[in-house]
Structures are given as C-alpha cells and as structure tokens.
Symmetry: D2
Subunit: 362 residues, 4 copies
C-alpha cells in the first residue's frame, strides 16, 4: 500500500501539510525496547526547519506518543506518534490550484485525485511527511545502535560542490560528521562552500540539487535474499519515498558501468581476526542482494527544489492557456540539505525490517 512499508515492521504514515497533523504508526517493534525520547528529539531537530538556508516555516515538531510506549519502554503494541501542524498558512497556495508548479506534484496529484485533492502545501506529497518518518527512524536508530549497527549520511555534493566521500572500506571515522558539524558535510570547508552556493541560489530566487551519501557499519553478512528479496529491492521503496529523489546507486553504482570486471570485483581476504573481508568495496556491502559484512554504501540524487520564486512557464487549467507563475511562500532552496537525516532515518527503518527477517528460525 502507498502509505505503508515493511515486512516485519509495519510503518504507516499519514497526514497532509495543512491537515491537523502528520503521524506514524510503527508496528512490530518488539516489547521491551527502551526509547530515549531526548535522543529522538535531538535527531528530529536535525530535520526540522530553521536557519536561512531552510524554509522559514518553524514548527516545534514535537511528537506526541499515543500508544505503544509505557514509561519509556515499548510494550509490543504499535507505537503511534502524532505531530501537530501548528504553523500553516493556507492562503499561500490558492492560485496553485489553476497554475501547477513545474517540477512539483501539483499537476500529477490533481490528475490522480481530482478536485478533492488537498493542494495546500502539497498535501500528502509535502516533505512534511518526513517528520514522522524521522520519528520512526530515530526509534530504529536507537535499536540498531544497541546492536552495533551505526548509520551516517552526509551531503556529498550540491550543484557541483563536492564533500569528501566516505572511505568505502571503513567509513567509521566520518560516519557522524554531518550530525556534529553545523553543516552536514564531512569537510567543514565544503560545507561553507555549499552553504554559499545555496544562499546564492536563494538570492537568485532559484534552487539547487544535491547528492546524499550514506554508510552503514556493523551489519552482519547474510541479510537479504535473491530476486525481489534483494537488499536493494527492500530498501529502494523506503528510500524513494523521500521527496525529490531522482537516483539511487550502491557501491560504485553508475561508475561500475565504466569498469572492467577485474577492476570492479572486490578481492576477498581474511582480516587479522580471521573474518572474511574485501580489500576494496565497489560492491557497497551487498552482493546478489545479500549483505557481505562490509559497510553498506549508497548515494541518492535529489533534484533542485521545484518551488522557486523565479517566473516560470506553466499552464492555466482554468483558462486552458499557457501562463506564467511566480511561486511565493516558504521553500528550502536545497531539499538535499534537510534530506540528510531523512536518508539516515529511512535506511534505519528499512534495515531494521530486514534484520527482523526470520532466517529459518522456527
């Protein structure tokens, strides 16, 4: 189903940008897991709007727990969390009903849902739905961390400006750099340059795209399966649910198409402790859809924010003629920026689901 993800976990998202609330129901969290709400809030703050580089819409985005957690511990019932929409300005969106924004879901959602579609703020297509996703991700990250699995993402590129990539064989040194730095890059200088690039776009009433790189350490070998059960097949629908994603690659990704087998194949070797490793990591931690025990590595391309203030050509559905649109309202000039924690959250939820697979245990 469209608002529902997972095999062992069952993640249900709901809400629209200008509804009463957005929320999540998280079924399948085992009973007895401590949930540190302070840590949840710290994580969610990384995604929350704020700062001149992001939208000026400010909301506390504090989740209210309706069920599933008793005195800080999961009880085995679904965890339900609701985040109120407190700062909505419905007036901003009135003329978009007839003049769809280029590059946005306005037109396609309208075709699908008809006039009853709640266009305000993009309805259920709003990036606001990533707030409850990040709540779920924050819960999953805590559970994974207790089991030795850590996830970190950073902004690898913005409109051509590049950050230092993760070391594919051992990304641990920089895994949480983005969370610790004021700007979510490994290299602070790259972060400053990106910030300048984003600010420049904003000043030009324009926007810029970017690439997020994510690494996961501590995953055991043997997760996933053949065909539709491949790890990439399991993760892709979760990762692609983040708005504005246009590409996804694992390991060497599109670069592997330019390599020879002898270059791309990662040689196996025994490490000092007698564990099987690869000396390089072009495979990105997954072979035949199954984890190898090496760090999982993937990159996601985010298109520039479609809502820009520059005048754009569009159609006027009321007049049936071509028209011009200047989008007003509050919009991030670079969605990739706030997508960094969203990618971590999505990866955490997808991997927790895969980790909960029954592998022949009965």
């Amino acid at each position: 189903m469209s608002y529902n993800y997972g095999k062992n976990l069952n993640i249900t998202l709901y809400g629209q940008s200008h509804a009463e609330a957005v929320g999540i129901v998280l079924e399948g969290i085992p009973a007895g897991e401590p949930i540190d709400m302070e840590e949840v809030k710290t994580f969610m703050a990384r995604r929350a709007p704020g700062g001149k580089l992001a939208t000026s819409r400010k909301e506390p985005d504090l989740p209210e727990i309706l069920s599933g957690i008793v005195e800080g511990v999961s009880c085995g019932a679904p965890i339900s969390a609701v985040i109120r929409n407190t700062n909505t300005r419905s007036g901003d969106y009135s003329n978009l009903k007839v003049k769809p924004r280029p590059g946005h879901a306005d037109y396609t959602a309208r075709v699908k849902f008809g006039d009853a579609f709640d266009l305000r703020g993009g309805g259920q297509f709003s990036a606001r739905l990533t707030a409850p996703l990040c709540f779920g991700g924050a819960v999953a990250l805590q559970m994974l961390k207790r089991r030795g699995i850590e996830i970190g993402a950073h902004l690898l590129a913005v409109h051509g400006v590049k950050d230092t990539p993760f070391d594919p064989v051992d990304p641990s040194a920089n895994l949480h750099a983005a969370a610790q730095n004021p700007f979510p890059t490994i290299d602070p200088k790259a972060g400053e340059d990106m910030a300048a690039e984003i600010e420049k776009a904003r000043m030009e009433l324009d926007s810029v795209g970017g690439i997020v790189e994510c690494a996961v350490t501590g995953l055991p070998a043997g997760l996933g399966d053949a065909l539709f059960g491949g790890l990439e097949c399991r993760m892709a629908p979760m990762l692609w649910a983040i708005p504005a994603v246009k590409g996804l690659e694992f390991g060497a990704g599109f670069g592997s198409a330019e390599l020879m087998g002898s270059q791309n194949n990662d040689p196996y070797t025994y490490d000092a402790e007698g564990k099987v490793k690869t000396t390089t990591n072009n495979h990105g931690g997954v072979l035949g859809g199954i984890t190898s025990g090496m760090p999982l590595l993937f990159r996601m391309a985010f298109k520039p924010t479609p809502s820009i203030a520059k005048p754009q050509q569009t159609v006027n559905l009321a007049t049936g003629r071509n028209d011009t649109l200047e989008v007003t309202g509050r919009h991030d000039p670079c969605v990739a920026l706030r997508a960094v924690p969203c990618v971590e959250a999505a990866a955490a939820l997808a991997l927790l689901d895969v980790l909960m697979d029954n592998n022949g245990t009965l």
Copy 2:
C-alpha cells in the same frame, strides 16, 4: 516475499540454474486476454544465450504452459509456465564451494543459506531466472501494447562507449531500435564499437559493465501515489531483481543534482490537441511519484560480469587462508547486453501492475 512481486498482479518466480526447471506463476491476468505465443517466443529469443558475445550455454528456453491459458486466451486462473534446464554442466562449479568468486553472490548466499545452498550455476541467484521473468514480461508487453503503451530499451553505454540516447520528449522513433538491430543499440556504429569492446574484454579473460536506458510511451497521467506508492517505489524492486544492477535513475537522475531549479523544472504547456505536456523531460515522466503523461525514462547501471577467467584473489573457506581463483565455465563478458530485454520485461510487469490499481473505482 523474496520471489514474489506485485499488488494487482502476483508474480512468483522459482528455480535454480541447475534445478530441473525455472518457472513463473502469473496471477492476476484478467480473463479473456489473447496471448500470442509466437510473439512471446520472439521476445524471449532476444534474451536467450547465443553468439560469441554471450555465454556459449545454449538452451531452447521454450516455456511450457501448465495452466491459465486455454486455446490462446487467458482464463482468469494463474498462468503457470515452466522452462526446463536442459543444458547444465554441474561439474564446472565444484571448486567454487570453497573459493567464492569475487563480486558474485557465492559467498553471501553461502552465509545466508549454509551448506545446503545449491551453488551450481549460482543457484537461484543465476541470471537464468530472467528467462521466466521475460516470459511474464512478454505477456505483459502484449497487453500494454493493445492499450497503446509501448516499452523499449537499448544499451546506452558499455565501458565508456556511448549509444545515442532516447529523445526524452519523444523517444518513439527509436523505441524498438534495439529489438530490430543485430546489436541492441540505436546507433549501429555504437553497437559495433560496443561489440568490439566486449570481444576485447573476453579475449583478455575479463568483462565490462554497461548502462541500459528504457523509455515507455503512452502511459496515462495519474499512475502512482505518494510515499511508498510512488511509481519509482513500485518499479524499483522489480527492476533491481535483475542481477548485477548497481544504479537506477529516472529522468535527469544524478545529473539533476548539478542543475538549478530553473534548469531542471520542466515547463508545462498545452500541445496542439490541448493536452498538458512539458517542453523538456528532466522529470522522466514522473513527478511526486505519479506519472505526468510524458514518456517514462529511466537508466540502469550494470556492473561487469563478476565471473572472469583472469586469476583473482579470494579466500579458501576450507583452508582458512587466502587463495587464487581462475573461474572456468561459460559466462557472458557483459551482462548488460542480455539485460536489455530483461529491463523491458521488468518494466512491463511493474507498469501493468500499477495500471491495474484501483483508483477509487467501486
């Protein structure tokens, strides 16, 4: 489930490279659809092994229909098709049990399934499973074509050699070039160069990667949904089930990360017939997870065939020491080549599933 795909269709694949057979059960095909078996065979022949550029393993790969089709017409029961494995040489694979091939699923499958894993020919991880996938795809392609939807793919790149890309706004002129040309490219000269590149790799006991580009015309606007119901989320698990895929991008894809919003946004316009179109197609036919009515465009990166004859470093699981491996047996030096019809088949099945969504009809 791992061998099972679809919401309205229910596609179940089974088999191993060296089992009695591989096969497919295709539930959800409406009763009354004519299935032209000659057309099915013609399509499947595009994927079948043969020629010096592909593996020398030759099998007729003719599907036997066990159920679901009566006198050339679907009857509403699941369509079951089985393809016998007639040309298996189990002896080839004996030493891979202790020395896993770098870049292949040997090691990861072994970790997952233990000693009982059917390693011969890669077991269920073999590209042989794409034979029944192509049977299903051939059925889906016929159904889509009757409804004005056409799908074509071509080999866009092999180890740096590039074919002419599709025209994003109107790919129809070259849509079936790959099916018609001896080599699956739009530009025959590019095909010759790629063939030479592949043959060179084969002579060097090596292999090469490649990129497949796919376009779909005739799709109505309004297919897909928000979040996990996005068209990309629906398609990705099917596309990524094809072996050796390392990347997937829609429209401008990773390139969009280097653009500004004003460049990436596709302006809306009314065409001569008063239909809403975009003048460019960076979005690749999908916005907010929903089709726009423009051609659907995506690209997939395939890594070089991991099984190469060149000596490679690996581990010896029997001795617990590092070792050297020279893979023997029959292997395509470029998996991307035979992947072209597989991508068409996978896209056809995924899109047929989405087309069968109930959009509020009751």
Copy 3:
C-alpha cells in the same frame, strides 16, 4: 501484519485500553467521498458503553480527524482518526499481573510480550480497539449505502434465548431492526428476555455468551475469487479480529453438515426481472468463494465475557502456586451485545475492500 488489514483499503489500528488513545488510519478511501460525521457519531454511539447491561466505563468516544478529510469530503490522503482514552482507572488491574484471568488474553499476551506488556485494561487486546474499528466501519457503511449495499446485524441468541432470524432470501424488512430497537434484536420480546438473561448473569457475578447474525443486501454477484481469495477468506480475518469470537458460519453453516445435497443445494431461477436468483439461500450468498447476488448471511459466536466477579481458580505467577481470583472493575456481562455494531462495521470494511478489487480493469 497484525494491526493492519486489507488489499485495496489499508486499515491500521493502534492503541491500548490505557494508552493516551486508540485510533485508526484508513488508506484507500477514494478522493471525493462525502463523510457525514453526524452519521458516524450515531453509529459509534451504538457501540459506546452505557446502560446497566454494559460496562459502566463511560467515554464520549468522539473521534478527532487528523487527516484525510477536508470540509467533510475525503481528499485521497489516508484518513486518520484518534479517540482519546479519557476514563481509565489503571489501579483496577494491578493484581492481574500475577494472577491471569481465566478465558482472557492476560496469560497468553504475557507469554508473548513478556513483562513489558501493557496489561492495564487488556492492553491492545481490549475491546476498546473496536471503537476506531467502528469509526472506519461507519465511513465504509456510508460509502456502501450510496452504492445500494446495506448491512445489518442483530443479536440472534443469548445463552439459549433466541431472536427471530433474518429471512435468508430477503432480510431487508428486518435489516436495521437492531439499530432502531432499544435492544439489538428483531423481536422486541426476545430482546426483553435477553436483557433479563444478561441482568441475571450480572447479578450472579457471571456472564453469558451469544450469537450475532449479519445480513448484507445489494451486493453484486461476482465478488471474490478461488482459494485464498474466497470471500470468506477475505472476511474472516476482519471478523475474527473482534474480541471473543469463537465461531463463524455462512449460510446454513454447521447445519449444512446434516443435510443431503438435494436439500442444501439452492435451485436457480429467473426472477420477474429476468435476474438469476436462488429460491432458498443455504449458501448464504457465496458459492466457491464468490458472491451469487443473493443476500450475504453469516453468524458469529461470542463466548461469555471472561472477566467475571465470581471467584475463579487460576495460577499465581509470582508464587508458582494455584490461587483464586475475583475480578473487579467494569466489564460487560455479555460482549455479544455491543458486538452487534462491531460486526456491521467489520463486514462493511471487509466488503468495501473486496468491492474495490480490480477485476481485470486496466
């Protein structure tokens, strides 16, 4: 998943008896459906506690709509409704942690979830979860009614006291009797006798079981499918999610086991309008898992409320010895009574899901 139901609809329930709230997320309601909230409340009031025959726990049980409905009309996004738990007395349940109530989920839930299980009020096993179910059912009933499909249930039996059953061939005359009468029976006298029986049980600190009969008129022929897609297979998990159900039968049900084929088979005939009907309705409106166009008829057995005030033998998990338990707190002496609207709601949701099947439309 355990808290999730449906193929076209996606119904997610959450909450515990003593959590902040119970709620529902209802995905798949087409955009543009008017939802009459007054009608919803009227329906939900039939299930709400009150009266000496029911539990004395009183809660307004008014749902708050968080998303999916804009100005009284569904917008295509999931409908999220939350019902606060305002009248919880956690103290009542303290000693049940060590002395599980016979006939209740206390012990089995404890085994499954361990100490973290939220035992208060039965946790997620509480009949309180039927409040959001009835919200969803009320929405579904409105949609079905607009399409000529009506659902009614009544209390057929309580501890041996019987109501008049529906006319299997045409139940329409009495379909909504239970909703209109002060006691949910067709025959008011039967209702009085049942009320007396329930009151007698309550005075004896005991409880009684009952049978609910449900009929559905206006269903088209052709809904359902073979095997696991049979209408009964689709409905059973929804119906059995209502607490305390011990049996389910369609048409003649268990009675058909005592008949000969010539008695049980319902002869086909053309009615005055040339439509195919059966002259009797032992099949209960479903043959081979597919609706026949005759009224759908089923009955559900509800066990007596397990929570009774009479002293009962149980184990003491703290001492490891047998012990005696007197359950205090507020409990309905006959769960079947308030189950009547729950059965209607569950049937409405299950049938709406089946009605939304894609039957070869593409």
Copy 4:
C-alpha cells in the same frame, strides 16, 4: 492475493482441473530441511481419489519436484512441485456452460470471469487444487513433527452420524486414528456407519455433508497476536480455501454462546512439571488470538457435494428460462471424507507460517 498465502512462508497454488497440471510454489522453507518423499507420497495417498466412496477418477498424483530440493534436502530456494492432470474427461462438462449446477461455483465464476472461464471440472475451483496443497502440507507436517508438533484430524460427523470427539485436554491418544483406520474416524464402528450413510446417499444419486475435527499438540504458548494477527485470523483464510467449507469454530465454538462465563472459562493450574495448563479446554488452545500451550482444537463444517445426479432445478443461460439439470460425471458423494487430510495439510502450513514469525528477534 487469491492464489497466495502466508507471511513467512509464501504458498502459491496454480492449475485448473483440466489444465496440464496443478502445482505449488513453496517459498520460505529454510535451507537444510530433509524432505522424505516417501512420507510425502503416503500422506498424499490419503487424499487421492479411489474407493467406491470417492470419485472414480483415478490419478497417481505424484508430484514432480522442479526446484528447491537437492538430494532430499531443501536448499533455500522456493520448492516447486507439479502434479500432472492425466485423467481428464473434458466431454463431461459441456452442458454445464449453460446450466449452472446449484450449490457449485459454476454460475458465480462465470459472472466473475465471463466466457473465458475454464469451466471444465470446475476450473481453479476444483477440489483438485487440494492435491498440491497436500504436497505442501506433507512437507510442513514433517518439519513440525521434528519440532514436537503433531496434527491430526478425523471425520467427526456425516449427516448426523457422529464419531467420538477428541479429548480436548489431551487428544494425543487418538490423534492419528484417522490416518491409521480404513475410514478416517476414531471409532471404527462410527466409520462403518458413516460409510453406509455415504453409500446410501450415492445410491440415491445424492450426497451428504460432514464435520471434520482437528487437533494440534505440542504448540508452544505465545503464537499469534492481537487483532488481525490473531491465530484464528491467520488460519482462517488457509482453512477456508478448502472447497465446500461453510463453518469454522475453535474450542467450544458455537456451543460457548450457550454457556455462562463461569462454565466456559478454563481454570489455570500448574501441572506436575510446573507448567501452566488449563483443566478444561473450551478455549481450544487460543486466547486473545494467542496460543495458550493447550492443544489447538477446531472444527470445520463441509456442505454436501453440490454435484449430484438427482434432477435439479436451475436456469438455462442460453434460453433465459428455468430448466432441469442431471449432473453426470464422477463426484465424491461426501467431500468431507477426503477433506480430512486436507484440513491437516492446511493447518500444518498455516501453523508453520505462524511459528516462523519473528517475535522480536533481531
């Protein structure tokens, strides 16, 4: 999906009575499970036609394994088994196309699928689909038995003639009586009387209904969940996929509606080994949707075979008038008889699926 069942297992059935074959794909069987094919055949022989009490259609019904088993051991890939239809007489069914059999799926399937429906032998609605189901069940039964879980069913009643029921608290003494006796009852005398009843019906060109009772021993406490995850919700769609089922009840079932809570509640007690048991078993091994550790007990009502040779009233879809039908061909006069092993098979598959749940293991 309609031909697909399971959460951890993924059971796909296909075939029609008069197609080339019927078959099953069984995904999720862990690698390394030995499968004794002789035992499989012995089990399947219990369901196979033969004897004057059953249909005279005789088929060896030997499954061919296409994949998933290597040298008698599961390898982790889906197990695919095909059973050829070798003894089909298509001529028998020609006139049923216009004159639907009362009580059969002929008419309803025709409405659903239209003229393309494969009416021969009932198409996919044929009880022949229980042959591959029994193959799957035979595999599951072996796996369960190795883990101390045993399943047995018997014919509890035929047209009023009753067999001795299982002892609800300890059915182990009679669990496999039906498999060992020439007639599937516990009491051989009851078997003789039932056989006479069935033969009498056959002589009268009629048929009789029956009830099958099933017990499962050795199940651990704690399987299942709340709401739609209840054990009954998980089992019902599998059990109701067996043709001709009209009712299902667990434990005291419909009888519990006539009891008081103090009679129906099963007191807890510690047994000699300090394990929690109940002294009675009205709950049938399941409380709140979760197993209690007591034997699981359920009963299923089967209607009389609808295909009877006696003249019956029906409609003639060609003439648009009422007509008379005398069904010819080979039909069991009591479907409940051969349903006994089918119920065991279905229960085994459903319970294996539930046993493979991940209960918070990660």
